[in-house]
């Protein structure tokens, strides 16, 4: 893991003391709310529906045991005993008091964490594949690049007041687990014909009220040019992006209006003309940062664990856990374990302080002290020996975290929605809870197969509904919650925006509508190996539409 050097530590400590002073001045009345708001937002502090909300950055989703324990401690001491892991690989506390926030930030700084740039029109937390550094299918660990971008973009004088927020994601496996094409900039690490590392660059993806899939503007960008090229993109955006209309200010609108070819041309021209001194990444610096992310020393293991296989043979639930929640590791005899934060009927992404402590202990005992947060609101133990899986599973089960549903129908992404969020127009958590209760995490869910349901409580799309295989958008119509459904969205390497089925559904009927969609899929799939997305892409919207609006009693039209 990356460790702060003297500069990092000094920088974060300085920001804590600056914010402490700003809070004191606000509480004394020396600053008005209008003057204070930009300062609190730059430190991740929002005012939400019930209270303040503090969003803490988890850079590229990587956490140590020690950091997780600190989050648990803060949850107990300053909040309500739990935290919410978000679709941006961050953590949110929903109830902190303003007077306590400087102390919380000081506690975070003590474990090399902060809340800087988790809000505001700046470059936000850089996200990455949550299996990074462990997964068998990556060509390189993408996190060193994310860390380099993080360092470069922190308090960047030119890019701290962009037209709108700016999100960058990095992926390095053929399987895109970081939804890079739904980001302002998506970077796919690739190797060229000479074996050199570089990036395929996507620009102008994004969700929200105008969903767009990112455009590929570079096939291969040498890694040394990473920062210079990102700077070129940001310069074009900073100059040409719209500042007159908040809803048209994201780079996706610029790319859409300008066109892919013109955007590419503008970026390449800026890149060619730009001052690259100080921006070219020296190989030695990349190597220095990469060293922090070295694969931990893992004891050699047999490819198949007898202990694990024995347990698998006699415990169906453990077997399901192995199937859904354990992914292939780059080291023989190890697995990447997803800890589902989606217990049936639970709140997606929530973890209690006790669960955080338990996960931290597991990481310390079985996963080289490392953890990841996924944008799918789950946690990951990246380096677990297959021999240890029965013990890890049992300990997870003892704290309610062994739900064997990763990637299944009940592994639902949901934003906080109207239960917490000041911007929301409808609740999303209760819909997720009811869907997961309907389908469960057992035989029925397994039989349905891979299915991503994503729910947002407003058009800002924090719940990524546009890229859900089944997407649900909560809206308010005449004082009532109503839910629009989209089908066929995907955030992976085959990214697509879901299509609206038709008129929305009431809260009462939306779960039945999802069931109708699932039943329709099951009836028309070629066989069990054709998953929902593949089937939808083969048959299109028509059979689902017909089932929802012509045959089902569940529709509200």
């Amino acid at each position: 893991m990356y460790r702060y050097d003297e500069f990092d530590a000094g920088f974060v400590a300085q920001r804590v003391s600056q914010f402490r002073d700003q809070v004191e001045r606000r509480l004394r009345g020396d600053l008005t709310e209008e003057q204070f708001r930009p300062h609190r937002l730059m430190n991740g502090l929002y005012l939400q529906l019930h209270a303040y909300m503090l969003r803490i950055a988890v850079p590229y989703g990587t956490l140590s045991s020690n950091q997780m324990r600190k989050l648990a401690e803060i949850a107990r001491k300053y909040d309500r005993g739990y935290g919410h892991f978000t679709t941006r690989q961050n953590l949110q506390f929903n109830w902190p008091a303003l007077k306590d926030v400087p102390d919380i930030l000081a506690e975070l700084a003590s474990v090399e964490m902060h809340a800087i740039q988790t809000s505001g029109n700046c470059i936000r937390n850089v996200t990455a594949d949550h299996f990074a550094g462990a997964t068998a299918d990556e060509i390189v660990d993408p996190r060193p690049y994310a860390e380099i971008i993080r360092q470069w973009s922190s308090q960047h004088p030119e890019f701290s007041f962009l037209p709108r927020k700016f999100k960058i994601a990095v992926n390095a496996a053929p399987k895109d687990r970081a939804a890079i094409r739904a980001h302002d900039i998506g970077l796919q690490a690739v190797r060229n014909e000479n074996g050199e590392f570089g990036f395929t660059v996507f620009v102008g993806g994004g969700l929200g009220r105008t969903p767009m899939i990112g455009h590929k503007i570079r096939d291969f960008l040498p890694e040394a040019d990473l920062l210079a090229y990102i700077a070129a993109i940001l310069r074009v955006y900073n100059l040409e992006g719209r500042r007159d209309n908040k809803f048209k200010a994201r780079i996706k609108i610029l790319v859409h209006e300008k066109g892919e070819a013109a955007m590419r041309e503008a970026v390449e021209a800026e890149f060619a003309a730009g001052e690259r001194v100080g921006l070219e990444l020296p190989a030695a610096e990349i190597a220095r940062i990469r060293a922090y992310f070295a694969l931990p020393a893992l004891e050699a293991k047999k490819p198949v664990s007898d202990r694990c296989e024995r347990r698998r043979g006699k415990d169906a639930r453990f077997s399901s856990f192995m199937l859904c929640n354990v992914a292939p590791h780059k080291a023989v005899g190890y697995g990447v374990v997803t800890i589902s934060l989606k217990p049936v009927g639970g709140v997606p992404g929530d973890a209690t302080a006790d669960q955080m402590d338990a996960v931290a202990d597991l990481a310390e005992d079985y996963s080289a002290d490392e953890l990841r947060v996924s944008h799918e609101q789950n946690l990951v133990l990246p380096h677990v020996a297959l021999d240890d899986l029965p013990a890890v599973y049992d300990r997870l089960a003892s704290v309610g975290l062994a739900t064997p549903n990763a990637g299944l129908v009940s592994d639902i992404i949901a934003c906080p929605g109207l239960d917490y969020c000041a911007l929301a127009t409808a609740r999303s958590i209760p819909i997720a809870q009811r869907i997961s209760e309907r389908f469960g995490d057992g035989a029925r869910a397994k039989e349905i197969g891979p299915l991503k349901i994503k729910i947002s409580g407003c058009i800002n799309a924090c719940g990524h509904h546009h890229i859900g295989h089944i997407g649900i958008l909560g809206l308010e119509r005449a004082g009532e919650e109503t839910y629009q459904i989209t089908l066929g969205g995907s955030g992976d390497e085959t990214a697509s925006i879901g299509q609206i089925t038709g008129p929305g559904f009431s809260s009462e009927n939306v779960v039945d509508a999802v069931e109708t969609i699932v039943s329709t899929y099951k009836a028309l799939r070629r066989d069990d190996s054709e998953d929902f997305l593949a089937a939808y892409r083969r048959v299109g919207m028509a059979p689902f539409k017909e089932a929802l609006y012509e045959r089902s009693a569940g529709s509200d039209i």
């Binding site: 005012l47 529906l49 239960d419």
Partner: protein, 105 residues
């Protein structure tokens, strides 16, 4: 129908409601104004409390009679006055402070 003035308390962000005297945490203890001049005057008073840094972002909400008690008309305000519908152990409802007429399923 009437109006209540609500805001968040500066120091801790807690949702508060304007009462006859000062601000209260319990919706049931809030002052209810007729829509129009009375509510406007109350909001003006709330803005003074904002200027003196007691509360943040005061605004009026519409309330209506339900089952003999006042309740916020909009779901958003009902949730804000009670707490998350998915965690009844959190927010005002956990302290017995939610609007009395709000029956939760």
């Amino acid at each position: 129908m009437g109006e209540i003035i609500t805001a968040n308390r500066l120091i801790d962000g807690v949702v508060v409601f304007q009462a006859e005297k000062g601000w209260v945490e319990d919706f049931a203890a809030a002052a209810i104004y007729d829509e129009g001049e009375a509510a406007k005057a109350a909001l003006a008073l709330a803005r003074q409390d904002e200027a003196s840094n007691h509360v943040v972002e005061p605004y009026p909400i519409v309330v209506e009679m339900r089952a003999g008690h006042y309740a916020p008309k909009a779901l958003r305000e009902a949730i804000r006055a009670a707490g998350p519908t998915t965690r009844l152990d959190l927010g005002k409802q956990a302290q017995g402070q939610s609007p009395r007429s709000l029956a939760r399923a």
